[in-house]
Each structure stands twice: as structure tokens, then as C-alpha cells.
């Protein structure tokens, strides 16, 4: 099930919230969340829910036996190896076999596993928990119900953020919902996903689907739309997750902090998918030696794996290494340079690097990627622009303006202006509050219309 669907919003979530607020005790609330989460997962993946349960059972057992029997390190290795094996088997086995076949001209059959939803997220979560227990940062969770509730918690199960046990362990025992902020955050996330990401997505298909014959200008417009799509899709989903978390009383950490306003790639990665970068930092980069020894090697490993985590294909590895190169350049050249480029130049540089990066991310086949880059950089012989490029672009101007505004910390700016005046006038506060309320209600209503609209399916050959 996905958040941006009618069945989730109006059936699953409605019933879930209703029961949640009726049920009195935290224990029962946790059981409800667990049942709801397993149902949520099994709705699309009835078989693979067993993997999720297995992963939870594994780390629950390992963490509870760690300091009771045998060597803690051995238990840790068992957990890491088994979790990574799950991930490798289900996410990477096809990719590995294809590469072995290509290299050795052998014909090992691809087992053809389907990628179970959310496996990249929950294996990382359970692993991080066991490592934290090993490092004695958190005590092992005694209640299996609470532990599996944490692992399977539906707000963050499918697309993150990667929530660490240490961040919510206290809330599993006692918590208070933050309904007002939760609702607000959820609606904003829903709007980002349904009204911005989906619209951008339709345009991406229009543009990048025929990159071969595109003009240079349109190829960049296509990549621009993809940059919008991936940001709104992912950050919208994170916003919904954070909002739902608040509704149930959990405080998940922020996952995106307006990445497109960054002025360097280093800054971009501090603002983009924060829970993933901090996972790699804490559980891989620092254990490898971090800044202290062999920093470049450590960065290389981390970025190759960050790329691979995004998908079982070489273009993702390339995408990770592409960032490695820019991060190293920034670290060893830019940051040591006594002269700094003006902010606008640094901003344009960052957006340029990020957009080219998204092209690498989008085209999963290397030959398509080569074509795309040759079109984008004018090596393909395609014209710079077509006369029709402009009317095509201007017909989406409302969307583009809305999307650009939504990429910027506009609401924060409004908040600051608002705070400035708030001391002086109740009238202004009433007006601003009313505007915000109407805006949020309208977003919810419009998103619902768009969700219904996405199922508009007139049939040509009916009633004959």
C-alpha cells in the first residue's frame, strides 16, 4: 500500500486512527500499530512479509542473547551477515549473476527474485539496532511486540526515513501524539507527492522518453523535471511519514532540509536523505577510520555503496562515484582555497552537478545514459532548441513556479516575517492563520481530487 492512494487515506488510515484514539493503553496501541503495519505491508507483498518478520526475529534474538551467551562480536557478525545476505539475495542476486555471466560467458540462470518492498530500509534499521546494542548505546529491547512494532511501523516502513531504534525506544513505551503538527505535515507531504511529484513525473516521461531526438534545451528541461520529481516524491513521502509519526506520538528525524538551496555538494548531502547519509557515516565511514586514516579510501567505499544501495545497476554505482569525485574535489581543493566564489556561482555549480547526477540516476542502461549525456552536452548533433520548445514549457509555467517555490524554505521565511509582526497585531495573525488553514484544507481536497483523477479511465469499447 502507498500513502498517496485512496484506499490508504480513506480506509486504512481512517480506521487505524479511529481505533488508535479509542484504545486506552500504550501496550494495546502498540499491538494495533503492529497489526496495522503488517496488514499494510502484506497488502502488496503477502508473501514477503515473512522476510520482514524474520529480520525482526533475528535481531531481537541476537540482541537479547548478545551479552548472555557466547561472544557479543560473534552475535553481531551473525546479524550483519544474515541481514546483508537477505539484502544481497533479494536485491542484488540478479545483478551479480548478470555480471558474472557477462564476465565469464557462463549461463547461470537468474533466480528472478522480486524486490520485496522496503527491504533496503528495514534491514538497515534492524542492523543499526543490533550494532547500537553491541556498542551499548541502547539496551536490548525485551518486548518482541515493541521491537517488531518499531521495525514494521507503517509510517516509515516503505520509504524511510531510516529510523533508528535509539531515536524512538522511549516513545515505544510512552508517547504523546502531536495531532496539529502531524496533520499539517502529512497534508504538506501528500500535496508534494500528489500535486508536484506526480505532475513532474508525467512530464519526465514526456521528455526523457524520447531523449534520442530531443533538442539540447528540452533534454535539460527533462532532467530539471526529474530533479523536481525525485525531490518531491521522496521528501513528500518523508513528510507524510513524519506527519503520521507525530499523529501516533513518534518524533522521526528530518530527512530533507531544502537540498536544492545548497551551495556545495557537501552541503547538498547534508540536506538530502539525511537518515541514509548519517547511517553510512555512523555505521560504515567512522568504523572504517573516518577522517582519521585513509579518508579518501573510506569515502570511496561509502559512496560506491551509497550508489549501490539505490539500485542493482551500474548507473547507480556510477552515480555514487560521481558524488565521491565532487566531494573529494571540494574537500581538498575548494575548501582549502583562500578565495571563495560568489554565492550565486556556487549555487549554480551545485545545481548543475546535481542535475547531471540525476541524469546518471535516471538512465539505468549505460548506453541510454551515454546518448542522454551526448544530447545534453550538444555532442549528438541534435539542435539547440526547437521553436515548439517554448510553448511546451510555457504551458507548464504555473506548475514550474509552484514547484520552484516549494523547493525553497518559503514557509520558514513566511514564519520569520510572521514572527516579526505577530507581536504587534492580532488581526495579522488571524489573517495569516486563516490563509494557512484554507491552504492546507485546499491541498487535502485537491490532492484527493487528483488521486481520483489519476484513476480516470474512460473505456472505448464498452457496451457493445
Amino acid at each position: 500500500m502507498v500513502f498517496s492512494s485512496l484506499i490508504f487515506l480513506f480506509q486504512f488510515l481512517t480506521i487505524c486512527l479511529l481505533l488508535y484514539f479509542i484504545i486506552p493503553s500504550i501496550k494495546l496501541k502498540n499491538i494495533l500499530l503492529l497489526v496495522a503495519s503488517l496488514f499494510f505491508y502484506a497488502w502488496g507483498e503477502p508473501v514477503w512479509v515473512t522476510l520482514l518478520i524474520f529480520s525482526a526475529l533475528l535481531d531481537y534474538t541476537v540482541s537479547n542473547l548478545m551479552f548472555k551467551k557466547g561472544s557479543p562480536k560473534a552475535w553481531l557478525i551473525i546479524s550483519v551477515v544474515l541481514n546483508l545476505s537477505l539484502l544481497i539475495t533479494f536485491k542484488f542476486s540478479g545483478f551479480i549473476i548478470q555480471n558474472i555471466n557477462a564476465l565469464t560467458s557462463s549461463h547461470i540462470p537468474d533466480p528472478g527474485f522480486m524486490l520485496p518492498i522496503g527491504i533496503s530500509f528495514y534491514t538497515f534499521q534492524t542492523m543499526s539496532y543490533t550494532i547500537d546494542v553491541y556498542r551499548k548505546k541502547v539496551p536490548p529491547e525485551r518486548s518482541f511486540i515493541d521491537f517488531i512494532t518499531y521495525v514494521s511501523l507503517f509510517p516509515q516502513l516503505i520509504a524511510g526515513p531510516i529510523v533508528r531504534y535509539s531515536d524512538i525506544s522511549k516513545e515505544l513505551k510512552s508517547r504523546k501524539p502531536d495531532i496539529l503538527n502531524g496533520v499539517r505535515r502529512f497534508i504538506i507531504g501528500l500535496g508534494k507527492k500528489v500535486l508536484l511529484a506526480n505532475t513532474a513525473g508525467a512530464l519526465v516521461g514526456e521528455y526523457l522518453g524520447r531523449i534520442n531526438s530531443m533538442s539540447v534545451l528540452s533534454s535539460w528541461v527533462g532532467v530539471f523535471f526529474f530533479s523536481l520529481q525525485i525531490y518531491f516524491d521522496f521528501s513528500g513521502y518523508s513528510d507524510m511519514a513524519i506527519g503520521l509519526g507525530k499523529l501516533f506520538g513518534f518524533q522521526f528525524l528530518e530527512n530533507f532540509e531544502y537540498p536544492y538551496i545548497s551551495k556545495s555538494i557537501t552541503e547538498f548531502w547534508r540536506r538530502w536523505h539525511i537518515s541514509l547519509s548519517s547511517f553510512f557515516r555512523d555505521y560504515l565511514y567512522i568504523p572504517l577510520g573516518g577522517n582519521r586514516k585513509l579518508q579518501v579510501r573510506n569515502m570511496l567505499i561509502v559512496w560506491a555503496l551509497t550508489g549501490l544501495w539505490h539500485g542493482a545497476s551500474w548507473n547507480f554505482v556510477l552515480w555514487g562515484l560521481y558524488y565521491f569525485v565532487f566531494l573529494v574535489i571540494e574537500k581538498y581543493i575548494f575548501q582549502r582555497s583562500p578565495v571563495k566564489a560568489p554565492a550565486a556561482v556556487r549555487h549554480v555549480y551545485t545545481l548543475f552537478v546535481v542535475m547531471v547526477g540525476w541524469a546518471v540516476f535516471y538512465f539505468t542502461s549505460i548506453s541510454e545514459l551515454r546518448t542522454a549525456l551526448s544530447v545534453m552536452f550538444g555532442f549528438s548533433g541534435n539542435p539547440g532548441y526547437y521553436a515548439s520548445d517554448l510553448p511546451m514549457l510555457t504551458s507548464h509555467v504555473v506548475f514550474i513556479v509552484a514547484a520552484i517555490i516549494a523547493c525553497m524554505p518559503f514557509s520558514k521565511l513566511c514564519g520569520r516575517i510572521f514572527d516579526h509582526f505577530i507581536e504587534k497585531s492580532s488581526m495579522l495573525t488571524v489573517l495569516a492563520t486563516a490563509a494557512q488553514t484554507v491552504f492546507l484544507c485546499a491541498i487535502l481536497f485537491w490532492s484527493t481530487s487528483a488521486l481520483v483523477g489519476s484513476t480516470f479511465n474512460p473505456f472505448l469499447y464498452f457496451r457493445f
Binding site: 485512496l6 496533520v183 507581536e423 472505448l460
Partner: protein
């Protein structure tokens, strides 16, 4: 004091939003479970998805959840109103038109009183389609293989400023033909249609072409196949009773310009004896007689006068005892061409690749077919490749 009051005001705003959220979810949630169910959607002109049957198999395969999603969506309370709201908002949000020179609605283009389809393939569609056609030629080296790609009306009638060179049908037909083996006969109908564009060759409220449009294309095919095309003057001609408010009206959310100016349908009858039977599969048992063209149809969609709409398989046997046989692998555009096609062959087979499972290679052999025509929209539907490679599955 002031700050406290303002915090209170803001909190009230938050409460109003939360209450709206709760009521919105509860009301729509309640009616999505217990609301009225309908069988037919007038606005979308189709049957509404019904509650799927829950079994272990349908659950494990994911079929149940998929069908249940459709069921909830189709029976969503006030569905038609939400659809209309969405269409209205979208017309501002994503399809801004700064003048009266036309507007995109649901990927169709509206210009004055004409709705238009624009068909073009993605790079991947094109590669998949051309590979499939080349494969057919490899497997059937002694059969004449023809490919005819049908453009939508857009490139003929939309204002120039909207014409994107990458979606231009003539360019895309050329691009596609370049990737198809020279042993295949490439029937390029673009210029024939362009020359005739001032005639009534495309409907204005429907994405299909008219019988006259189909005739233009048929003439190019006949020239290429090496016979004299039948002349329209030699055929009996009729206008179908009643207006034809085409599919685009529905798909484009009923624009007034189209609603007020429906189409009419003109038909031509072949002047020869023939029998036509339709079949559900390639075993061709238990056929039903069918009229390939009629001058009346008791339904608003008058395009059904041709072949009674899309059929999995139609076999037409004519009085031309010349031994010539043709298999047409087709979509709905081919229907308007049947009346012309039958004039030159002894046997014509119309196979709709979307509605039938077939091993076309055995079929060609069994029925001694000497020509195969792929007659497809220029979207180059990728599923045609699956259809062609279905031989093992069918066996």
C-alpha cells in the same frame, strides 16, 4: 499578553485544519465503505469495478489487492464530481493556454472545434516494435510483410507553434521505418493523408479516422501490394443515422466546443459477395456471422458500424477466387478499412493483437497466408512484441 493571544489564534487554526482533516477522512471513508454502489459509470462510459472475490490464491498473487484498489477508486463517493474538479484545476495548473490557439487536455489537443490525438513512440517503444517486426520477417522470409503506421490528427490540424519536431508523425514514421529491415514493405501513408487533410478524413470529436481517411491509406497499401485499388465511386455509400459524439468528448471532460459539434459517420459497402465470421481464438470453431460494415448502429458510438468494434479474429471469405490471402494484425483504426481490403483478396483475416492469444507463425502456415499487414497506431504499443513472441505460450 499579545503573544499568548496570537499563539491561541494559531492553535485554533491548527485545530480547524485537524477537524477538517478528521471529518474529511471520516465522511469519505464512511461512504467509501458503505456508500451506494453503481454498476455503470455514465461519465466514463464503462462498467464499474465490482468487489473482487477473496481467495487464498487471489490474495497471494496480489490480484485481490489490485482489484480491491480499483473497486474503491471506482466506487469512491462523489467520484464524478472529484473528476470534474480535478479536470478544472488541471486546466489551469498544467495546461495553461495564453491565447485561443489550442489547449492540451488529458494528453489530447483541443483547437477550435476539433479534438486531436497525437501518437508518437518513446525510444524504447520504437526499438521494441521494430525488433518485433524484424523478427517476424526473419521467421516468415517467404511471406510479404507490410507495416503501416497511423498518425493521429494532431500534426495535420494543430497550429504550427505546438508542433514539436520530436513528436512529428512524419519524422517518427521515418525513424521507425529506418530501423525496419528493407525486406519488409513499409507503407508510408503520411503524405497521402496530408494531401487529403482538407477532406473529412479524421473525426473531430473522436481520435479515429473516417472511412475516407482509411481509404487514403488503403490506396497507398494497394499501390505497394501491386493491385488497382477499388474506386470509391464503385461502392455503395451511406450516412449513418444520427450524430456521432466521439470518444474525445468524454476523454477531454466534455468541452463545449466538441459537445456542440458532433461528427457524422459515412460508410462504403463493398460490391461483392462475401461471408464474414468472427471467432474468439485461432481454433476458429463456433464462429458468429458478422457484418463488416453497417449503415446503422443502435448506440452513440457510431464507429461500431465498422466490424462491430474490435473483435479478436474475423475471417472474411470473398467471391474473389484469386487465392490471395491477407492477415491484418491490427488495432481499432483498421476497422474503418475492412470494406476496402476485402475487395482484392479471397481471404482476409483481421486479428486484434490486444484481444487474442495466437501463434501467428503457425497461423500463417496453416491458412497459407501470403501477406501480413501490421496496421498500428504510431504509439507503437510495446505489447505487440509480447503478442508476436506468444507462440510458445500458445502451444
Amino acid at each position: 499578553m499579545q503573544t499568548q493571544r496570537n499563539t491561541k489564534i494559531m492553535k485554533t487554526g491548527g485545530i480547524v485544519t485537524a477537524v477538517f482533516f478528521a471529518v474529511f477522512l471520516l465522511v469519505l471513508g464512511y461512504f467509501s465503505f458503505f456508500g451506494e454502489r453503481r454498476e455503470i459509470s455514465e461519465a466514463e462510459n464503462r462498467e464499474v469495478a465490482q468487489m473482487p472475490e477473496f481467495t487464498y490464491d487471489t490474495w497471494v498473487s496480489g490480484e485481490f489487492s489490485e482489484e480491491y484498489d480499483n473497486y474503491v477508486a471506482d466506487n469512491f463517493p462523489w467520484r464524478d464530481d472529484f473528476l470534474q474538479v480535478n479536470a478544472d484545476i488541471n486546466s489551469v495548473y498544467t495546461q495553461v493556454s495564453f491565447d485561443d490557439e489550442g489547449v492540451w487536455i488529458e494528453n489530447r489537443f483541443l483547437y477550435k472545434d476539433r479534438g486531436m490525438g497525437l501518437y508518437y513512440p518513446t525510444d524504447e517503444d520504437l526499438a521494441t516494435y521494430t525488433d518485433a517486426i524484424n523478427y517476424v520477417k526473419e521467421r516468415l522470409p517467404d511471406t510479404d510483410i507490410y507495416v503501416m503506421l497511423i498518425p493521429g490528427a494532431f500534426n495535420f490540424y494543430a497550429p504550427l507553434k505546438f508542433q514539436d519536431p520530436t513528436t512529428m508523425s512524419d519524422k517518427n514514421i521515418e525513424r521507425t521505418f529506418d530501423k525496419i529491415s528493407d525486406d519488409v514493405n513499409k507503407v508510408n501513408i503520411y503524405s497521402a493523408l496530408e494531401d487529403a487533410k482538407d477532406d473529412y478524413i479524421y473525426f473531430r470529436t473522436d481520435f479515429h479516422w473516417t472511412a475516407r481517411g482509411a481509404y487514403c491509406a488503403y490506396k497507398v497499401f494497394a499501390d505497394m501490394a501491386g493491385y488497382d485499388p477499388v474506386s470509391l465511386d464503385e461502392m455503395r455509400h451511406a450516412i449513418v443515422d444520427g450524430d456521432f459524439p466521439g470518444e474525445l468528448i468524454l476523454e477531454m471532460h466534455e468541452p463545449e466546443a466538441l459537445k456542440e459539434a458532433p461528427d457524422f459517420v459515412e460508410v462504403f459497402f463493398p460490391e461483392l459477395e462475401y461471408t464474414a465470421m468472427m471467432y474468439a481464438d485461432t481454433d476458429m470453431v463456433d464462429g458468429t456471422p458478422i457484418e463488416i460494415v453497417r449503415d446503422a448502429v443502435n448506440w452513440w458510438n457510431k464507429y461500431y458500424v465498422f466490424n462491430k468494434g474490435d473483435q479478436p479474429l474475423i475471417h472474411i471469405n470473398t467471391e474473389n477466387k484469386n487465392g490471395k490471402s491477407l492477415l491484418v494484425i491490427k488495432d481499432s483504426f483498421a476497422n474503418a478499412m475492412t470494406a476496402f481490403m476485402v475487395c482484392d483478396y479471397e481471404d482476409v483475416y483481421y486479428m486484434d493483437y490486444r484481444l487474442i492469444k495466437a501463434d501467428i507463425f503457425s497461423f500463417v502456415e496453416e491458412h497459407s497466408i501470403d501477406s501480413v499487414l501490421f496496421l498500428n497506431k504510431l504509439t507503437l504499443d510495446r505489447s505487440i512484441s509480447m503478442f508476436i513472441h506468444m507462440e510458445n505460450e500458445v502451444r
